[in-house]
Amino acid sequence: MKQTGNHTLTLEARGLECIRDDRVLFSELAFRLEPGQALLLEGRNGSGKTSLLRILCGIRLPDAGSVTWCGSDINRLGPDYHEHTAYVGHRDGIKLDLTPLENLAMARALGKPNETTLEAVLEQVDLYGFEDVLTRNLSAGQKRRLALARLLVTDTVLWILDEPFTSLDVHGIQVVEQLLEQHTARGGMLAVTSHHPVNFKHTTVQRIDLSA
């Protein structure tokens, strides 16, 4: 499943600056992320973690600096960059009036599909049996797991996750942690922010503290 030529896949940030409401949230931020690695963002509420993740997605433009993917600016690459990334933000990114299967089918169509069946994906996030229930009728934890299931229906290298463990119970957290580790073990990359301490056993972790 993973591409050959992994050694050329890098996400690099240089001189990143983010200003919101007149406050400089961070400036001269730089890092380099390679396959198998996770970027963990830490900091108080309002320190710019979500803004940084959105800059890495390409949704938000940095006030200074650049983010490059394999050497090219992500905002110039556009869909060619988005093909390799998947984002789960604060909001789940799923429609409440569709079933989990319908939601995943849509998520798959928007990206580069992988080979796993949608039913198998639902099983991986412990939503087996809920294929045809309207998402509206799921619990908050189940909805969050469905949102994260979007990561598993496309073939993406970089996962950008904003508070992925919100609303999850202990079991749910374990399931997701396992998925994240499997992803990096296969050569994937992670950019994560989490209030909940993340248990990365086998992944190389780079930490950036935005409160500093």
């Binding site: 959105r54 997605c57 998947a86 789940d92 169509a109 928007l110 990206g111």
Partner: protein
Amino acid sequence: MKSDSLTRAFALLLKRDLTLAVRHRAEMINPLLFFILVTSLFPLGIGADPRLLQAVGPGVIWVAALLAALLSLEGIFRSDFEDGTLEQLLLSSHPVSVLVLAKVLAHWLITGLPLLLVSPLLGVLLGLPAAAIQILLLTLVLGTPVLSLLGAVGVALTVGLRKGGMILSLLVLPLYVPLLIFAANAVDTAAAGLPVTAHLSLISALLVLALSLSPLATAAALRISLS
């Protein structure tokens, strides 16, 4: 192969929005009722003299259609914005303008098409002759997609704003003026028994222009609103 998956994405997004609309069937009727109500207010406001009504009929119906379209447009991106699916469209590996086109098409099928079906009734209410009603239908078929396409740009610019709805009218109604002029006049001209090919060509030209340019503008506006 890329275009294959793009077609699939377009079709699935269209199907998704239509499915969502069907699951909220009750909401589909609101713009329709508004259309009928506004049109019906005019005889009450200006008197029921048949000649007067026939003279103002085309303009009144078209203005009511504009307002009904505007009313229904606000919803095109709102729910997607709130549940986070709108930004997923921006993060897709497909060009956003094509995805926008799918959403606008779905929106037109849900809100524009019903207006078409009701318009002959309104034509009768205002005493329009049969020839005029035929042309009314034709102008609506060509014109309501233009309303959806142009309106989508306005909605995309205001989707993140608190009072977005209020300035939407200000942004979009001036852009509707040419369509209103050509369409209302086409129906008027048809009522007088004269040919309207020139009018229909002009409206078709507006449609082609809107089809080619507004998805791009809407995509750009969405990127800006969501940043």
